[in-house]
Symmetry: C2
DNA sequence: ACCTGAACACCGTTCAAGT
DNA sequence: ACCTGAACACCGTTCAAGT
C-alpha cells in the first residue's frame, strides 16, 4: 500500500470512530470524509460499504466481546457480565443493536463474521449457564441474542442508569423455577 | 375546508397509512405525496411535520390502545394482553417503538398526546397488576414502557412467532417471587 | 495505484407564484 | 384558501479524469 493511501486509511478510521461515537452508526459518510479532509471517492475506495467501515472500526471490539470467557466459575454471572459488556458497547455506539441484527441476518455483510464470532461466544455462555447455572434449558440462542440486542436498544434510548436493573430483570425471566 | 382540500387530506391519509404499513414509519414523504398524486407542498400544508401525519394515521390506534381495559378480572393477564396488543401494533408498523419513545420524550411532538394517553393506561394497568396481581412493587412505569418498546422493537426484527414467548419471559421477570 | 470531484438520483423543507 | 413546483441543502454511490 502506498504511503499516502495508508495515511488516508488511518485518517478515515480515526474520524469514523469519533463520528460513530458522537453521532451514532448512521452518521453521514460524507461528513466522515470531510472530517478526514479526503474525498468521498477515497473513502469508498478503502471501504466499499458502510459495514466494511464499521467492521474496521468495531470489528476488534466485537471479536473481543466474542473471546470473553468465564471468570467467576459462576456460569450465570458470566452470562450476565457478557450481557453487560454488550449493552455498554451499544450505549457507546448508538445504532449498534440494529446493526448487529442486520449483520447477523446478512451473510454478505462485511460485519457478518465479527458478529457471528460474537454469536458463537454467546451460544457457548448460554449453554454453560444452562448446564451449570440456573438458566432454562428451552431458551434458544436466537432468543438470547434478540433479548441482548433489545436490551442494548433500550439502553441506547436511556442515558440513565437502569440498564443493569433491566438486565437483571430479564435474566431472571430466563431462570428456571 | 374547501372540497379539494378535504379530498387531498383524505388521499394523503390513505396513501400514508399504506406506505407506513408497507415500508415503515420512516418512508419518504415525497413518496407518499407521489402515491397520492399531490404536490409535496400540499402534504406539508396539511401535515407540517412527520409526527403530525403519524398522529393522523396512528393516533386512533394508540388512543384505542390507551382505552383498553381489564376484561379478565386477572390483573396480570390484562397487563400481558396490553403488551401483546402493543407488540402487534409495532409489527404492523415498523419503527413504531422508536417513534413512541421519541414522541414521549418530546412534548412538542404532534404525537405526544396520543402516546401520553397510552402511557397513562399502561401505568394504570401496571398499578393494578402490582396491587391485585403478582408484579413486583418496585417496577416503575418507565421501566415497563421501555420494556414494552424494546419488546416491540425486537418483534419488528422478527417476522417469526416468538414474540409471545419473549413477552411471557419478560413478564415473568417482573414477578415477585 | 491512488485520488479527486463532478454527476446522478434521491430526500426534507421552504416559499414565491399561481388559481 | 389552497395548490404547485422550483429552490436550497443535504446525502449515497459511481465513475471519468487526473497525478
Amino acid at each position: 500500500m502506498r504511503a499516502d493511501a495508508r495515511r488516508n486509511y488511518q485518517l478515515i478510521l480515526t474520524e469514523a470512530a469519533a463520528a460513530f461515537a458522537e453521532r451514532g452508526l448512521d452518521t453521514s459518510l460524507e461528513d466522515i470524509a470531510r472530517r478526514a479532509s479526503i474525498s468521498i471517492g477515497t473513502l469508498y475506495r478503502h471501504f466499499p460499504t458502510r459495514h466494511a467501515l464499521l467492521d474496521a472500526v468495531l470489528g476488534d471490539r466485537l471479536r473481543q466481546l466474542a473471546t470473553a470467557r468465564p471468570q467467576h466459575g459462576d456460569a450465570d454471572g458470566t452470562l450476565t457480565d457478557w450481557l453487560g459488556h454488550f449493552v455498554a458497547e451499544a450505549t457507546a455506539y448508538r445504532g449498534l443493536a440494529e446493526t448487529v441484527l442486520a449483520a447477523l441476518a446478512d451473510p454478505d455483510s462485511r460485519l457478518h463474521a465479527s458478529c457471528l464470532a460474537m454469536h458463537d461466544t454467546a451460544a457457548h455462555l448460554l449453554r454453560d449457564a444452562q448446564q451449570h447455572g440456573t438458566i432454562r434449558s428451552d431458551v434458544h440462542i436466537d432468543d438470547l441474542l434478540l433479548l441482548a440486542t433489545a436490551l442494548a436498544w433500550s439502553a441506547e434510548h436511556r442515558p440513565g442508569q437502569p440498564a443493569d436493573r433491566l438486565s437483571n430483570l430479564l435474566v431472571d425471566g430466563l431462570r428456571r423455577r
